[in-house]
Symmetry: C2
Subunit: 238 residues, 2 copies
Protein backbone atom coordinates (compact mmCIF):
# COMPACT_ATOMS: atom_id res chain seq x y z
CA UNK A 1 0.00 0.00 0.00
CA UNK A 2 1.18 3.53 -0.77
CA UNK A 3 2.09 5.90 2.01
CA UNK A 4 -0.62 8.36 2.83
CA UNK A 5 1.91 11.13 2.32
CA UNK A 6 1.90 10.51 -1.43
CA UNK A 7 -1.61 11.86 -1.94
CA UNK A 8 -2.45 15.33 -3.14
CA UNK A 9 -5.17 15.98 -0.63
CA UNK A 10 -7.92 18.57 -0.13
CA UNK A 11 -7.51 21.72 1.94
CA UNK A 12 -9.55 22.01 5.12
CA UNK A 13 -11.19 25.18 6.37
CA UNK A 14 -13.80 26.21 8.92
CA UNK A 15 -16.77 28.54 8.62
CA UNK A 16 -18.91 29.71 11.52
CA UNK A 17 -22.46 31.03 11.42
CA UNK A 18 -22.40 32.96 14.71
CA UNK A 19 -25.69 34.34 15.98
CA UNK A 20 -26.62 36.72 18.74
CA UNK A 21 -29.68 38.56 19.96
CA UNK A 22 -30.09 42.31 19.72
CA UNK A 23 -32.46 44.19 21.95
CA UNK A 24 -33.95 47.02 19.92
CA UNK A 25 -34.76 50.44 21.30
CA UNK A 26 -38.22 51.22 22.58
CA UNK A 27 -40.15 54.37 21.63
CA UNK A 28 -42.37 54.35 24.69
CA UNK A 29 -41.52 54.26 28.37
CA UNK A 30 -44.12 51.52 28.86
CA UNK A 31 -43.31 49.29 25.91
CA UNK A 32 -40.69 46.56 26.08
CA UNK A 33 -37.98 46.66 23.40
CA UNK A 34 -38.14 44.22 20.50
CA UNK A 35 -35.72 41.36 19.93
CA UNK A 36 -33.96 40.46 16.71
CA UNK A 37 -31.66 37.66 15.60
CA UNK A 38 -28.27 38.82 14.26
CA UNK A 39 -25.45 37.10 12.39
CA UNK A 40 -21.75 38.01 12.15
CA UNK A 41 -20.50 38.65 8.57
CA UNK A 42 -17.40 40.27 7.11
CA UNK A 43 -16.71 41.78 3.70
CA UNK A 44 -14.04 39.98 1.71
CA UNK A 45 -11.07 42.17 0.85
CA UNK A 46 -9.45 39.78 -1.67
CA UNK A 47 -10.47 37.52 -4.50
CA UNK A 48 -12.27 35.22 -4.85
CA UNK A 49 -15.59 36.86 -3.96
CA UNK A 50 -13.95 40.23 -3.22
CA UNK A 51 -16.60 42.64 -1.92
CA UNK A 52 -19.05 39.89 -1.01
CA UNK A 53 -20.03 39.19 2.59
CA UNK A 54 -18.90 35.93 4.18
CA UNK A 55 -18.85 33.93 7.38
CA UNK A 56 -15.76 34.13 9.59
CA UNK A 57 -13.45 31.11 9.44
CA UNK A 58 -10.25 30.07 7.72
CA UNK A 59 -7.78 27.37 6.86
CA UNK A 60 -7.22 24.81 9.57
CA UNK A 61 -3.68 24.61 10.90
CA UNK A 62 -2.01 21.25 11.24
CA UNK A 63 -2.41 20.95 15.02
CA UNK A 64 -5.48 23.02 15.64
CA UNK A 65 -9.04 21.98 16.43
CA UNK A 66 -11.78 23.61 14.33
CA UNK A 67 -13.13 25.35 17.44
CA UNK A 68 -9.74 26.92 18.21
CA UNK A 69 -9.40 27.93 14.58
CA UNK A 70 -12.76 29.71 14.64
CA UNK A 71 -12.02 31.55 17.88
CA UNK A 72 -8.66 32.64 16.45
CA UNK A 73 -10.16 33.81 13.17
CA UNK A 74 -13.03 35.67 14.82
CA UNK A 75 -10.66 37.54 17.10
CA UNK A 76 -8.51 38.49 14.09
CA UNK A 77 -11.52 39.94 12.29
CA UNK A 78 -13.21 41.67 15.20
CA UNK A 79 -13.16 41.93 18.96
CA UNK A 80 -16.41 40.23 19.72
CA UNK A 81 -16.51 37.87 22.68
CA UNK A 82 -16.83 34.23 23.56
CA UNK A 83 -19.43 31.91 22.11
CA UNK A 84 -20.53 28.31 22.19
CA UNK A 85 -19.74 26.37 19.02
CA UNK A 86 -21.55 23.30 17.74
CA UNK A 87 -20.53 21.39 14.63
CA UNK A 88 -23.12 21.68 11.87
CA UNK A 89 -22.09 19.93 8.65
CA UNK A 90 -19.05 19.55 6.43
CA UNK A 91 -19.43 21.07 2.98
CA UNK A 92 -17.50 19.08 0.40
CA UNK A 93 -18.71 20.01 -3.07
CA UNK A 94 -15.56 19.89 -5.27
CA UNK A 95 -16.50 23.21 -6.92
CA UNK A 96 -17.21 25.23 -3.79
CA UNK A 97 -13.91 27.19 -3.85
CA UNK A 98 -12.56 28.30 -7.25
CA UNK A 99 -8.94 28.28 -6.04
CA UNK A 100 -8.61 24.64 -5.04
CA UNK A 101 -10.39 21.69 -3.51
CA UNK A 102 -11.38 23.01 -0.09
CA UNK A 103 -13.73 21.22 2.26
CA UNK A 104 -15.30 23.34 4.98
CA UNK A 105 -16.26 22.16 8.46
CA UNK A 106 -19.14 24.48 9.31
CA UNK A 107 -20.14 25.44 12.85
CA UNK A 108 -23.11 27.06 14.51
CA UNK A 109 -22.09 29.66 17.11
CA UNK A 110 -24.25 31.20 19.84
CA UNK A 111 -23.15 34.42 21.56
CA UNK A 112 -24.89 36.32 24.32
CA UNK A 113 -25.80 39.93 23.70
CA UNK A 114 -23.25 41.12 26.29
CA UNK A 115 -20.40 39.32 24.50
CA UNK A 116 -21.58 40.47 21.08
CA UNK A 117 -21.51 44.20 21.86
CA UNK A 118 -17.75 44.42 22.16
CA UNK A 119 -16.09 46.41 19.45
CA UNK A 120 -16.49 45.00 15.93
CA UNK A 121 -13.82 45.81 13.40
CA UNK A 122 -13.72 44.02 10.06
CA UNK A 123 -16.84 42.01 10.90
CA UNK A 124 -20.34 43.35 11.56
CA UNK A 125 -23.65 42.12 12.95
CA UNK A 126 -26.57 41.93 10.50
CA UNK A 127 -30.16 41.20 11.44
CA UNK A 128 -31.54 38.09 9.78
CA UNK A 129 -34.89 38.36 8.01
CA UNK A 130 -36.90 36.01 5.84
CA UNK A 131 -37.31 37.44 2.31
CA UNK A 132 -39.71 35.75 -0.14
CA UNK A 133 -38.45 32.20 0.29
CA UNK A 134 -34.84 33.16 0.89
CA UNK A 135 -33.04 35.30 3.44
CA UNK A 136 -32.02 38.94 3.75
CA UNK A 137 -29.54 40.63 6.10
CA UNK A 138 -29.85 44.23 7.22
CA UNK A 139 -27.67 46.72 9.06
CA UNK A 140 -27.89 50.53 9.20
CA UNK A 141 -29.98 50.62 6.03
CA UNK A 142 -27.62 48.28 4.14
CA UNK A 143 -29.69 45.36 2.84
CA UNK A 144 -27.97 42.18 1.65
CA UNK A 145 -29.69 39.40 -0.28
CA UNK A 146 -28.44 35.88 -0.95
CA UNK A 147 -26.55 37.10 -4.01
CA UNK A 148 -24.35 39.33 -1.80
CA UNK A 149 -23.04 36.33 0.14
CA UNK A 150 -19.78 34.73 -1.04
CA UNK A 151 -18.88 31.06 -1.55
CA UNK A 152 -21.63 28.64 -0.47
CA UNK A 153 -22.04 30.53 2.79
CA UNK A 154 -25.73 31.20 2.21
CA UNK A 155 -26.29 27.43 2.29
CA UNK A 156 -24.29 27.24 5.53
CA UNK A 157 -26.42 30.00 7.06
CA UNK A 158 -29.59 28.19 6.01
CA UNK A 159 -28.32 24.96 7.57
CA UNK A 160 -27.46 26.85 10.77
CA UNK A 161 -30.93 28.39 10.98
CA UNK A 162 -32.46 24.96 10.37
CA UNK A 163 -30.41 23.51 13.22
CA UNK A 164 -31.43 26.34 15.53
CA UNK A 165 -35.10 25.90 14.66
CA UNK A 166 -35.14 22.16 15.13
CA UNK A 167 -32.96 22.28 18.24
CA UNK A 168 -34.46 25.26 20.05
CA UNK A 169 -37.25 23.37 21.84
CA UNK A 170 -35.03 20.53 23.04
CA UNK A 171 -31.54 21.96 23.62
CA UNK A 172 -30.10 24.88 25.52
CA UNK A 173 -29.39 26.92 22.37
CA UNK A 174 -31.66 29.70 23.61
CA UNK A 175 -29.84 30.03 26.92
CA UNK A 176 -26.53 30.67 25.17
CA UNK A 177 -28.10 33.72 23.55
CA UNK A 178 -29.39 35.18 26.82
CA UNK A 179 -27.70 36.76 29.85
CA UNK A 180 -27.29 34.72 33.02
CA UNK A 181 -30.59 36.02 34.41
CA UNK A 182 -33.56 36.71 32.18
CA UNK A 183 -37.32 37.15 32.28
CA UNK A 184 -39.66 34.60 30.75
CA UNK A 185 -40.71 37.25 28.25
CA UNK A 186 -37.10 37.63 27.10
CA UNK A 187 -36.88 33.86 26.76
CA UNK A 188 -40.08 33.84 24.75
CA UNK A 189 -38.81 36.64 22.51
CA UNK A 190 -35.68 34.62 21.70
CA UNK A 191 -37.76 31.56 20.83
CA UNK A 192 -39.93 33.70 18.60
CA UNK A 193 -36.96 35.36 16.87
CA UNK A 194 -35.63 31.89 16.03
CA UNK A 195 -38.86 30.10 15.19
CA UNK A 196 -40.65 33.05 13.61
CA UNK A 197 -44.00 32.36 15.23
CA UNK A 198 -45.92 33.66 18.22
CA UNK A 199 -46.94 31.57 21.19
CA UNK A 200 -49.46 32.33 23.88
CA UNK A 201 -47.91 33.52 27.12
CA UNK A 202 -49.64 31.01 29.38
CA UNK A 203 -48.82 28.04 27.14
CA UNK A 204 -45.23 29.13 26.58
CA UNK A 205 -44.63 29.44 30.30
CA UNK A 206 -45.99 25.97 31.02
CA UNK A 207 -43.75 24.58 28.28
CA UNK A 208 -40.47 26.03 29.61
CA UNK A 209 -41.12 26.12 33.33
CA UNK A 210 -39.17 22.94 34.04
CA UNK A 211 -36.14 24.08 32.03
CA UNK A 212 -35.60 27.20 34.16
CA UNK A 213 -34.83 27.96 37.79
CA UNK A 214 -36.51 30.94 39.43
CA UNK A 215 -34.45 33.50 41.36
CA UNK A 216 -35.56 36.10 43.93
CA UNK A 217 -34.66 38.97 41.61
CA UNK A 218 -37.03 41.13 39.62
CA UNK A 219 -36.83 43.73 36.89
CA UNK A 220 -37.74 47.30 37.88
CA UNK A 221 -38.30 50.81 36.44
CA UNK A 222 -40.22 49.44 33.49
CA UNK A 223 -43.55 51.26 33.60
CA UNK A 224 -45.40 48.05 34.36
CA UNK A 225 -45.43 45.15 36.77
CA UNK A 226 -41.92 43.84 37.56
CA UNK A 227 -40.98 40.43 36.10
CA UNK A 228 -39.28 37.65 37.98
CA UNK A 229 -35.79 36.76 36.74
CA UNK A 230 -34.89 33.15 35.97
CA UNK A 231 -31.69 31.22 35.23
CA UNK A 232 -31.15 28.06 33.25
CA UNK A 233 -31.94 25.01 35.37
CA UNK A 234 -28.89 22.92 36.20
CA UNK A 235 -29.39 19.28 35.29
CA UNK A 236 -29.97 17.05 38.28
CA UNK A 237 -27.51 14.16 38.52
CA UNK A 238 -28.88 10.69 39.17
Amino acid sequence: MDSIFDYEHPFVCTDAAIFTIKTEESDNYRKLPGTSLQILLYKRATDPYMGRWCLPGGFLDIDETPEDNIRRKVSEKSYVGECRLEQLHTFCDPGRDPRARVISIAYLGLMSEAESTRYEDKAAWFSVRPADGSLAFERDGLLLTGADIGFDHLAIIEAALGRMRSGAPYTDIVFDLLPEEFTLTQLQNVYEAILGRRDQTANFRRKVIDMVQETDNYTSDKGHRPARLYTKKQEVKQ
Copy 2:
Protein backbone atom coordinates in the same frame (compact mmCIF):
# COMPACT_ATOMS: atom_id res chain seq x y z
CA MET B 1 -1.92 37.50 2.55
CA ASP B 2 -0.08 34.23 2.00
CA SER B 3 -1.16 31.83 -0.68
CA ILE B 4 -3.22 29.00 0.68
CA PHE B 5 -0.80 26.59 -0.98
CA ASP B 6 1.88 27.43 1.58
CA TYR B 7 0.13 25.67 4.44
CA GLU B 8 0.91 22.20 5.66
CA HIS B 9 -2.65 21.04 5.96
CA PRO B 10 -4.48 18.07 7.49
CA PHE B 11 -5.32 14.88 5.61
CA VAL B 12 -8.98 14.14 4.96
CA CYS B 13 -10.56 10.72 5.14
CA THR B 14 -14.03 9.19 5.29
CA ASP B 15 -15.48 6.51 7.54
CA ALA B 16 -18.87 4.89 7.08
CA ALA B 17 -20.99 3.11 9.68
CA ILE B 18 -23.11 1.01 7.32
CA PHE B 19 -26.05 -0.87 8.78
CA THR B 20 -28.38 -3.52 7.47
CA ILE B 21 -31.07 -5.84 8.77
CA LYS B 22 -30.68 -9.59 9.02
CA THR B 23 -33.66 -11.89 9.14
CA GLU B 24 -32.81 -14.77 11.41
CA GLU B 25 -33.92 -18.34 10.86
CA SER B 26 -37.07 -19.63 12.49
CA ASP B 27 -37.27 -22.98 14.32
CA ASN B 28 -40.99 -23.40 13.89
CA TYR B 29 -43.17 -23.36 10.79
CA ARG B 30 -45.61 -21.01 12.53
CA LYS B 31 -43.15 -18.59 14.09
CA LEU B 32 -41.89 -15.56 12.22
CA PRO B 33 -38.09 -15.14 12.06
CA GLY B 34 -36.35 -12.57 14.30
CA THR B 35 -34.70 -9.40 13.07
CA SER B 36 -31.27 -8.08 14.00
CA LEU B 37 -29.30 -4.94 13.24
CA GLN B 38 -25.91 -5.56 11.58
CA ILE B 39 -22.88 -3.37 10.87
CA LEU B 40 -20.13 -3.77 8.26
CA LEU B 41 -16.57 -4.01 9.71
CA TYR B 42 -13.23 -5.09 8.32
CA LYS B 43 -10.06 -6.30 10.00
CA ARG B 44 -7.08 -4.03 9.47
CA ALA B 45 -4.17 -5.76 7.74
CA THR B 46 -1.56 -3.02 8.39
CA ASP B 47 -0.46 -0.76 11.18
CA PRO B 48 -1.69 1.29 12.90
CA TYR B 49 -4.32 -0.83 14.65
CA MET B 50 -3.33 -3.97 12.73
CA GLY B 51 -5.74 -6.78 13.64
CA ARG B 52 -8.39 -4.45 15.01
CA TRP B 53 -11.79 -4.11 13.37
CA CYS B 54 -12.64 -0.82 11.67
CA LEU B 55 -15.22 0.98 9.59
CA PRO B 56 -14.77 1.06 5.81
CA GLY B 57 -13.52 4.36 4.38
CA GLY B 58 -10.29 5.91 3.24
CA PHE B 59 -8.37 8.97 2.17
CA LEU B 60 -10.33 11.42 0.07
CA ASP B 61 -9.00 12.01 -3.42
CA ILE B 62 -8.60 15.55 -4.67
CA ASP B 63 -11.68 15.58 -6.90
CA GLU B 64 -13.90 13.08 -5.18
CA THR B 65 -16.99 13.58 -3.04
CA PRO B 66 -17.03 11.70 0.30
CA GLU B 67 -19.99 9.62 -0.91
CA ASP B 68 -18.09 8.48 -4.01
CA ASN B 69 -15.06 7.74 -1.87
CA ILE B 70 -17.07 5.52 0.46
CA ARG B 71 -18.75 3.61 -2.37
CA ARG B 72 -15.33 3.06 -3.96
CA LYS B 73 -13.73 1.89 -0.72
CA VAL B 74 -16.61 -0.43 0.17
CA SER B 75 -16.49 -2.09 -3.23
CA GLU B 76 -12.72 -2.55 -2.84
CA LYS B 77 -13.19 -4.29 0.50
CA SER B 78 -16.22 -6.43 -0.34
CA TYR B 79 -18.91 -6.90 -2.92
CA VAL B 80 -21.87 -5.71 -0.92
CA GLY B 81 -24.41 -3.55 -2.71
CA GLU B 82 -25.76 -0.02 -2.84
CA CYS B 83 -26.71 2.00 0.20
CA ARG B 84 -28.00 5.41 1.16
CA LEU B 85 -25.40 7.63 2.84
CA GLU B 86 -26.07 10.49 5.21
CA GLN B 87 -23.36 12.71 6.68
CA LEU B 88 -22.99 12.24 10.41
CA HIS B 89 -20.18 14.31 11.93
CA THR B 90 -16.59 15.24 11.22
CA PHE B 91 -14.10 13.87 13.74
CA CYS B 92 -11.18 16.26 14.16
CA ASP B 93 -9.29 15.37 17.33
CA PRO B 94 -5.61 16.05 16.51
CA GLY B 95 -4.58 12.74 18.11
CA ARG B 96 -7.08 10.45 16.40
CA ASP B 97 -4.58 8.97 13.91
CA PRO B 98 -1.03 8.23 15.13
CA ARG B 99 0.47 8.65 11.63
CA ALA B 100 -0.52 12.24 10.95
CA ARG B 101 -3.24 14.83 11.42
CA VAL B 102 -6.23 13.21 9.76
CA ILE B 103 -9.76 14.51 9.99
CA SER B 104 -12.53 12.06 9.20
CA ILE B 105 -15.87 12.89 7.65
CA ALA B 106 -18.10 10.16 9.05
CA TYR B 107 -21.24 8.88 7.33
CA LEU B 108 -24.21 6.77 8.30
CA GLY B 109 -25.11 4.18 5.65
CA LEU B 110 -28.33 2.18 5.31
CA MET B 111 -28.44 -0.95 3.15
CA SER B 112 -31.38 -3.23 2.45
CA GLU B 113 -31.05 -6.90 3.32
CA ALA B 114 -31.11 -7.88 -0.37
CA GLU B 115 -28.14 -5.62 -1.13
CA SER B 116 -26.25 -6.71 1.96
CA THR B 117 -26.28 -10.42 1.14
CA ARG B 118 -24.00 -10.15 -1.85
CA TYR B 119 -20.63 -11.74 -1.36
CA GLU B 120 -18.50 -10.19 1.39
CA ASP B 121 -14.75 -10.46 1.10
CA LYS B 122 -12.47 -8.50 3.39
CA ALA B 123 -15.41 -6.99 5.24
CA ALA B 124 -18.05 -8.81 7.30
CA TRP B 125 -21.43 -8.12 8.88
CA PHE B 126 -21.59 -8.17 12.67
CA SER B 127 -24.74 -7.99 14.72
CA VAL B 128 -24.87 -4.98 17.04
CA ARG B 129 -25.76 -5.58 20.67
CA PRO B 130 -25.80 -3.40 23.75
CA ALA B 131 -23.31 -4.65 26.35
CA ASP B 132 -23.28 -3.16 29.88
CA GLY B 133 -23.30 0.50 28.86
CA SER B 134 -21.17 -0.01 25.76
CA LEU B 135 -21.57 -2.05 22.60
CA ALA B 136 -20.62 -5.54 21.43
CA PHE B 137 -20.48 -7.01 17.93
CA GLU B 138 -21.02 -10.69 17.17
CA ARG B 139 -20.60 -12.97 14.17
CA ASP B 140 -20.35 -16.76 14.01
CA GLY B 141 -19.36 -16.96 17.67
CA LEU B 142 -16.72 -14.21 17.36
CA LEU B 143 -17.53 -11.52 19.92
CA LEU B 144 -15.95 -8.06 19.67
CA THR B 145 -16.03 -5.43 22.40
CA GLY B 146 -15.21 -1.75 22.13
CA ALA B 147 -11.52 -2.52 22.72
CA ASP B 148 -11.38 -4.55 19.51
CA ILE B 149 -12.35 -1.53 17.39
CA GLY B 150 -9.53 0.55 15.89
CA PHE B 151 -9.04 4.33 15.80
CA ASP B 152 -12.00 6.31 17.22
CA HIS B 153 -14.40 4.18 15.21
CA LEU B 154 -16.34 3.05 18.28
CA ALA B 155 -17.28 6.70 18.86
CA ILE B 156 -18.36 6.96 15.23
CA ILE B 157 -20.53 3.85 15.59
CA GLU B 158 -22.11 5.28 18.73
CA ALA B 159 -22.85 8.55 16.94
CA ALA B 160 -24.38 6.62 14.04
CA LEU B 161 -26.63 4.63 16.36
CA GLY B 162 -27.66 7.83 18.08
CA ARG B 163 -28.58 9.38 14.74
CA MET B 164 -30.58 6.31 13.76
CA ARG B 165 -32.44 6.29 17.06
CA SER B 166 -33.31 9.96 16.99
CA GLY B 167 -34.11 9.94 13.27
CA ALA B 168 -36.04 6.69 12.98
CA PRO B 169 -39.47 8.08 13.93
CA TYR B 170 -39.24 11.13 11.67
CA THR B 171 -37.17 10.14 8.63
CA ASP B 172 -37.25 7.31 6.12
CA ILE B 173 -34.18 5.59 7.60
CA VAL B 174 -36.25 2.46 8.27
CA PHE B 175 -37.43 2.17 4.68
CA ASP B 176 -33.85 2.09 3.38
CA LEU B 177 -33.30 -1.03 5.46
CA LEU B 178 -36.38 -2.85 4.11
CA PRO B 179 -37.28 -4.38 0.74
CA GLU B 180 -39.62 -2.49 -1.59
CA GLU B 181 -42.68 -4.27 -0.15
CA PHE B 182 -42.92 -5.23 3.49
CA THR B 183 -45.43 -6.14 6.18
CA LEU B 184 -46.18 -3.84 9.08
CA THR B 185 -44.69 -6.45 11.39
CA GLN B 186 -41.40 -6.31 9.46
CA LEU B 187 -41.50 -2.53 9.76
CA GLN B 188 -42.14 -2.82 13.49
CA ASN B 189 -39.28 -5.30 13.89
CA VAL B 190 -36.87 -2.83 12.26
CA TYR B 191 -38.03 -0.03 14.54
CA GLU B 192 -37.53 -2.28 17.51
CA ALA B 193 -34.08 -3.43 16.40
CA ILE B 194 -33.03 0.22 16.20
CA LEU B 195 -34.80 1.64 19.23
CA GLY B 196 -34.44 -1.41 21.45
CA ARG B 197 -37.93 -1.23 22.87
CA ARG B 198 -41.24 -2.97 22.19
CA ASP B 199 -44.38 -1.22 21.06
CA GLN B 200 -47.94 -2.46 21.06
CA THR B 201 -49.13 -3.63 17.65
CA ALA B 202 -52.26 -1.51 17.52
CA ASN B 203 -50.48 1.66 18.58
CA PHE B 204 -47.52 1.09 16.28
CA ARG B 205 -49.82 0.64 13.29
CA ARG B 206 -51.71 3.84 13.99
CA LYS B 207 -48.39 5.68 14.30
CA VAL B 208 -46.98 4.59 10.92
CA ILE B 209 -50.15 4.19 8.89
CA ASP B 210 -49.81 7.56 7.16
CA MET B 211 -46.16 6.96 6.22
CA VAL B 212 -46.96 3.83 4.20
CA GLN B 213 -49.04 2.97 1.14
CA GLU B 214 -50.98 -0.29 1.11
CA THR B 215 -50.69 -2.68 -1.86
CA ASP B 216 -52.99 -5.52 -2.91
CA ASN B 217 -50.32 -8.11 -2.19
CA TYR B 218 -50.16 -10.44 0.79
CA THR B 219 -47.69 -12.86 2.31
CA SER B 220 -48.58 -16.54 2.08
CA ASP B 221 -47.48 -20.01 3.25
CA LYS B 222 -46.76 -18.72 6.74
CA GLY B 223 -48.84 -20.98 9.00
CA HIS B 224 -51.02 -18.05 10.06
CA ARG B 225 -53.18 -15.34 8.58
CA PRO B 226 -51.55 -13.62 5.56
CA ALA B 227 -50.26 -10.07 6.10
CA ARG B 228 -50.87 -7.21 3.73
CA LEU B 229 -47.75 -5.80 2.06
CA TYR B 230 -47.05 -2.07 2.12
CA THR B 231 -44.64 0.28 0.36
CA LYS B 232 -43.21 3.60 1.48
CA LYS B 233 -45.72 6.38 0.81
CA GLN B 234 -44.57 8.79 -1.88
CA GLU B 235 -44.70 12.38 -0.69
CA VAL B 236 -47.58 14.35 -2.18
CA LYS B 237 -46.51 17.54 -3.93
CA GLN B 238 -48.41 20.71 -3.09
